[in-house]
């Protein structure tokens, strides 16, 4: 099971990213452990400069803006 983290504070794009990942995972029937990281120091610890960012199994795969569905499907497959 993939461990997916969405890094981002309370902005609309960050919330939408979480929802989108949830919906793609459900659609593909993939079980994932999804977590939202809101703590600023933790976010900065990943070295990202733009939120929302997505971390899959400890690796930053995306930063800045809502990712597209195809990309999400690729990460969680």
């Amino acid at each position: 099971m993939k461990n997916v983290k969405v890094l981002g504070t309370a902005c609309a794009n960050c919330r939408n990213t979480v929802q989108l990942i949830e919906s793609v995972a459900k659609e593909k029937g993939v079980e994932i452990a999804l977590e939202k990281v809101e703590d600023m120091q933790a976010i900065i610890g990943y070295g990202v400069m733009r939120t929302p960012a997505v971390v899959v199994d400890g690796k930053v795969v995306h930063s800045g803006g809502i990712p597209d569905r195809a990309a999400i499907a690729g990460w969680i497959a």
Partner: protein
């Protein structure tokens, strides 16, 4: 920036983009030069006459709506493509280790073309400082990025002409440069939160977007249009409708007595009023349109607009995580003074 591993950049996609753009540009230009005819036709079609208040208001609406939407779509697309060349990581690498002065000018200019969202302000701030970008230069960027943006410029150009848009651009840059210089000169590094000061300096000079194929750049441009225009069009319609109403009905000089240039206290009042308010450029335009339409002085209204966009209570709360109160107060004080000065200059000059 998307790091999709499965991108197949086949030539046909690029060809499709190029053919599409070659077809779209003449259509855009043709439409832009025939706006007046289009508005006139629609007014005639509705059986209205421009001699009446209502007809005149409708003509204004039919003329300004497609004009602003065309301009916005064009500029936002171009900016979306341009921004792919200026990822924050790249801007950071360009600014790292620069001296005050040149660095501030560069930072303020890069603020226009680097993609920025206020919710990313803190990670960006930390990212800059940790890569050795001086504090004053980081502030020049942080002030310019939200204030001097393409939506504000397009709307000012569309509604008040290129002179107002150019003045806004020039003065916005000037405020960002001077405010950053002042904050840099004050040497306030020890007013950063302790954990920020304790951070180790990281020399990351990765420039990820250097080899992005053009298809992805065009896609990014289109995504930018989708995101920006998709979000702001209701505000723009509301603003133009309001403007049209004022154009047709409300007598001029309605606001002149309280926000006209003769009232010296109107500029500081506009700034004080603007700071706690939080809105983006598109949200504030209906108000700007209404105020100007009713005879408020341009400098006063622009000061209000700048205060709303550049200084906002939610942003202060976010920045409080990395800045101690005195540095926040200095930031607000310096920027607010700059905006007031701009307001007065505008009122005197125009």
């Amino acid at each position: 920036m998307n790091t999709i591993t499965t991108t197949t950049t086949t030539p046909p996609t690029l060809w499709k983009w190029l053919v599409g753009l070659i077809l779209a540009i003449p259509v855009w230009v043709f439409a832009y030069w025939h706006l007046d005819e289009f508005a006139q036709r629609l007014v005639d079609l509705l059986g209205l006459s421009r001699e009446t208040h209502f007809g005149e208001a409708m003509h204004f609406f039919f003329f300004d709506t497609p004009k602003v939407l065309l301009l916005l779509t064009g500029i936002v697309f171009v900016m979306g493509v341009v921004q792919t060349f200026f990822a924050p990581e790249r801007t950071r690498a360009l600014l790292s280790g620069k001296r005050l002065g040149v660095g501030n000018v560069m930072a303020a200019s890069l603020g226009i073309v680097t993609p920025f969202c206020s919710c990313s302000a803190v990670p960006l701030f930390i990212g800059f400082l940790s890569a050795g970008v001086p504090l004053g230069i980081t502030f020049s960027f942080l002030i310019s990025a939200p204030m001097v943006n393409e939506v504000a410029l397009v709307l000012l150009f569309g509604m008040f002409g290129w002179k107002v848009a150019a003045l806004y651009l020039g003065l916005g840059l000037l405020i960002a440069i001077v405010a950053g210089l002042v904050i840099g000169q004050l040497k306030m590094e020890h007013h950063l939160e302790d954990w920020v000061q304790a951070m180790v300096r990281t020399d990351s000079v990765d420039v990820p977007d250097a080899h992005m194929p053009w298809t992805e750049r065009f896609q990014a441009g289109w995504a930018h249009v989708h995101e920006i225009v998709g979000k702001v069009w209701p505000y723009i319609l509301a603003g133009i409708a309001l403007g049209a109403g004022i154009h047709g009905y409300v007598p001029q000089d309605f606001m002149a007595s309280i926000m006209g240039r003769s009232a010296w206290w109107s500029v500081p009042a506009a700034v004080l009023l603007g700071v706690p308010m939080y809105s983006n450029a598109a949200g504030i335009i209906p108000i700007v349109e209404a105020l100007i339409g009713k005879g408020a002085a341009l400098g006063t209204v622009l000061a209000f607009m700048m205060a709303v966009i550049a200084l906002s209570a939610p942003e202060m709360i976010i920045l409080r995580k990395v800045l101690k109160p005195r540095l926040i107060a200095t930031f607000v004080g310096v920027v607010a003074s700059g905006i007031m000065l701009v307001g007065y200059v505008f009122n005197v000059v125009i």
